[in-house]
Amino acid sequence: MTGDTEKEQEPSSGEQQLNVLKRIHEILTKHSSTQTEFIPLLYHSLKQISKHPNNSSNSLDAATSSIRHRLKTAKTLLQQDPAAIELVSKTPEQWQLHIQEKKIELEKKTKHLQRLRESIQKQ
């Protein structure tokens, strides 16, 4: 029972990949009011620097640190999930071809299974 509940609680591998991709997507896109897109954030930082060029605390490196952190986190998430890497290593077109081949293969297997079942029932 405990093993089953653990299995139920554990997300499947496909869900894990989706979780990773979704997390990467959330990190890189505008997810909330505090987390904006990169270009507006960059534009805002450059404008601040141009307004106060003599302010030593205004540096683009510090202003873009959050962008670089988000990019680094996304990279780390992708590095830690080889399944996600394998998923995104192929283009969607390549995956469609792979899915078609797999469907044909499964159809053949199903037919063979059906034929085997019929031959057993006949005998």
Binding site: N19, I24, H25, S66, A74, D81, A83
Partner: protein, 285 residues
């Protein structure tokens, strides 16, 4: 500005469905370099670093801004493809489940077939069963000689075969004389064929006996010397002799019949002599 949360521990390599589990770290890093999103992220990171460096050193490079915009555009184009990847992943997991289901069914069928094959192999072959049945029936048809002999021993009068028994002969023909009923039948048949002769012979014998009796009476009258005791003894002897002749009629089989009769005559010679005198006189015929 919010920082992204820590990487979840559920994204472990051990639970992955793909062959990525078997890949080494170097292979993963090589594969990672070819992934579009990873390249975009690295290029974006590198360009921003260069831009911040150029701005912070008061040598702004406007081309880097264009490059950042290009990287951003490329990155978000790649992120837009993620929706397709979600669909692909769902389709792959569905196909994976279907494949597992088919594989399980196939395995179950093959296991059942294998079990049936083993159980059928454990059963004896039809040809073997038929052969064994034939052998059994043949054995039942044959009666064991020991059983027959035991049954014969129950029915037999003797526990051993007679010494005159000839093994080459079968049945009662091994006896040197015909059976008693055969003898009787033969005698009756002969009598029916020679009825007249026998009747005449019988009449002649009666006449001769009457003559002999009259002559004997005369002799008896002439010889009155014999005492009553002698007569009595003679009568006893006559009776013994008649009994002996009667016994001879029912012959008892022995191994040495002739020898027995000879020994009997040797043991009691007087009796034989008396018998010859009193009952049968061949000279008279």
């Amino acid at each position: 500005m919010s920082t992204p949360g820590p990487v979840p521990s559920s994204t472990s390599v051990a639970t992955l469905p793909f062959s990525a589990q078997d890949k080494t770290q170097e292979q993963v890093s090589e594969e990672l370099q070819s992934v579009g999103i990873y390249q975009d992220l690295e290029r974006y990171e590198e360009t921003i670093q260069q831009l911040s460096k150029s701005v912070d050193t008061f040598k702004p490079d406007l081309s880097l801004i264009d490059k950042v915009i290009e990287c951003d555009k490329k990155l978000y184009e790649t992120l837009e493809e993620f929706d397709e990847y979600y669909k692909i992943e769902e389709e792959l997991s569905r196909l994976d489940k279907e494949q597992k289901n088919i594989d399980n069914k196939t395995r179950e069928i093959l296991e059942t077939l294998n079990t049936c094959y083993n159980s059928l192999n454990e059963l004896p072959m039809l040809e073997q069963v038929e052969f064994e049945q034939k052998v059994m029936l043949k054995q039942r048809e044959k009666i064991h000689s020991k059983v027959v002999l035991d049954y014969a021993m129950k029915l037999a009068k003797f526990t051993r075969f007679p010494p005159t028994f000839d093994k080459s002969m079968i049945g009662p023909n091994n006896f040197i004389w015909p059976a008693e009923d055969s003898l009787r039948k033969g005698m009756l048949a002969m009598a029916s064929l020679k009825k007249k002769e026998l009747l005449l012979d019988a009449l002649d014998e009666d006449n001769v006996n009457n003559d002999n009796n009259t002559s004997k009476i005369d002799e008896m009258r002439n010889t009155n010397e014999d005492s009553v005791d002698d007569r009595f003894n003679n009568k006893e002897q006559v009776q013994d002799a008649t009994e002996d002749t009667e016994r001879r009629g029912s012959f008892e089989f022995t191994a040495n019949g002739k020898e027995d009769s000879e020994t009997k005559s040797e043991e009691n010679p007087d009796l034989e002599l008396d018998l010859d005198l009193d009952l049968f006189n061949p000279d008279e015929f």
